[in-house]
Symmetry: C2
Subunit: 363 residues, 2 copies
């Protein structure tokens, strides 16, 4: 049996975590041979509820759980963690403007970034699930200057999985037989679900099998607004599928995507002409605990316009919170070069993803 | 890849199923190489919500799901199923007496029993999770005269897991290192969680390591009323741990318990002096898709009194619904002898469990 790894989950008493935790504990994320210590973080008002969740985890008699700790602040909760799944976020309440929402979440993710910077394992992998995920991730990363921006991701895997699942159903094939779906940009209705490089069983092109009109006027808006569609039918938000996507993202990041392309919201290194310094969803392949952007996909004119639009939104979100971000100093960039045992070659955002490679990170 | 199996889940839009379905779909129940067709059953009023759940399952892009069908009645929903997980039940509403509750559920489980009898695969394994589970299971089975009573179980695995988990925590050992915990009788506050045969790592006796007073006055009532304790802390009932227990029960029943003792609510064959013809939780070992009662455990005087009390409650529940049960005719028993390809030697409840053996049931 391996040594246990520490996994922090925020918003741990919420609905997404209620699906997520019992799957992590069963070994779905890191494998049936990987013991875990769960470090559950909530706001002080939710600690009773969180205790109930922890009792239920105890009641499942999971062999992989080697410990559960409960925390009402991230500085305790993130101590020594190898994985951080940041589920908790401030939802939009009535009368709240977009700027208010961004600011309310900036406060949460600034604190959590500082906490990760201070107390997490130096090789921590952090995934932001709470919305607005991409900009929350930016805030998180910028507040953790001693960690590499490539150690942070925003979740667009739900959009990726949705695209693959709905497409599989449309084509009458198993979703796992489809490869090359890409969701570009922001986890928001501006995202661009791109089927132009997708194939079935490595052969037949997907885009040739679907009607262009269906793709542009049915499929695309459906993926972009799928969350609202689920709420309409189920009366509740899509907690279980979000949890599954978070788990898929982390599993592939840690254990590899087996040669398959997955969509991940990562720090832009300028690939495909996307502005550097924002967290943008790119096509990636994961191997040895690291991800690499696939750089040679063709993007047609339609796609370029779609990619630009969602990039624009992310730049606007960044501008809205810019006054809250710590300055990016030459000094903080200098730190990055040496922060993870000198193995990280990160320089000013360029090739952050491909530079971050460490095969022995989880042992 | 194996041929897909059909799994029916009732109450499929409810909270337990919301945890259960996404675990089945990920392969936690029948393995990562076993494709499944999910046949989801709900009451007509919950079909919209159910559609939302099905959409989320689609959105997870699970490779193992080979089909999802939605049904508002069990005669459609149970067609050809190899596994039936009966989660939906009528909960006790305000002012409802115990007898009213039993009768309301009798109506549901009578219909579902008839449906299983008529349309399910002849080798179906049915697990009742909805409460009062043991007596619901009796009603179900009695309404399915062409199926063997040993094809039906009432879930006491949650109580079993809770005992093991809480004990592991108390002793500071991994719950999976404990074997021999038994929960006897009814899934109700009369259940008897028995530690007298439990050991750690096959060696040291558990009962010697815990204080008798703690065992009788703290541990036992805690297990018996754990559901209420969870509700108190979490504000909601223990859906995720119930789902996990249902999954554990089915997995062990189908794939084997690897030599470990598990508690299962099964048709009493008179073992340990328990009245025949009620569904009572016994210590079992599962192998080759079948379960066997472990018959040689020692039960002390205290234990015998505890076992009697919970048996008494089950006999009272049976008496309360007896007028609703179809008569057990010699003819219906005759059917049993030949119902599953002549391989079943079931006779009047005696040795039903051990007689039910068919190694090639899932292919």
């Amino acid at each position: 049996m391996k040594q246990p790894v520490r996994i922090a989950v925020t918003g741990a008493a919420g609905n997404i975590s209620y699906s997520l935790l019992f799957k992590i504990a069963a070994g779905e994320m890191l494998g049936a041979d990987q013991p875990v210590i769960l470090q559950l973080v909530e706001i002080p008002q939710a600690m009773d509820k969180l205790r109930g969740v922890a009792m239920e985890l105890e009641d499942c008699s999971f062999p992989l759980i080697h410990g559960i700790t409960l925390h009402d602040n991230p500085f305790d909760g993130f101590k020594g963690v190898h994985y951080a799944m940041l589920v908790g976020a401030r939802p939009r309440s009535k009368g709240m403007e977009r700027a208010d929402l961004l600011e309310a979440n900036a406060a949460i993710f600034s604190e959590q970034g500082k906490a990760l910077n201070e107390v997490a394992n130096r090789d921590v992998k952090a995934l932001v699930i709470g919305n607005p995920a991409n900009t929350n991730c930016l805030i998180l990363s910028r507040n953790a200057p001693d960690l590499n921006p490539s150690q942070f991701c925003a979740m667009t895997r739900l959009d990726h999985n949705r695209s693959q699942g709905i497409l599989g159903n449309k084509l009458g094939v198993n979703p796992s037989d489809i490869d090359g779906v890409v969701v570009w940009g922001n986890h928001s209705p501006t995202m661009y679900p791109d089927l132009h490089n997708a194939t079935v069983l490595g052969g037949e092109s997907v885009i040739d099998q679907v009607d262009e009109d269906w793709y542009k006027t049915e499929f695309t808006p459906r993926i972009q607004k799928r969350g609202a569609e689920i709420i309409e039918w189920r009366g509740l938000s899509s907690a279980a599928s979000a949890a599954q996507a978070g788990l898929d993202h982390m599993r592939d990041w840690a254990l590899g995507s087996e040669g398959k392309i997955v969509s991940m919201g990562i720090i832009s290194d300028g690939s495909y002409g996307v502005a550097k310094g924002i967290y943008y969803s790119f096509p990636c392949i994961c191997e040895f605990g690291s991800y690499q952007i696939i750089k040679d996909l063709e993007v047609n004119e339609y796609g370029q316009a779609m990619m630009k639009k969602t990039e624009q939104e992310l730049l606007e979100e960044k501008a809205a919170v810019d006054h809250l971000l710590p300055a990016e100093t030459a000094e903080s960039r200098e730190n990055l070069k040496t922060s993870t045992d000198g193995q990280t070659q990160f320089d000013n955002g360029i090739d952050a993803a491909s530079a971050y490679y460490k095969a022995d990170r989880i042992c």
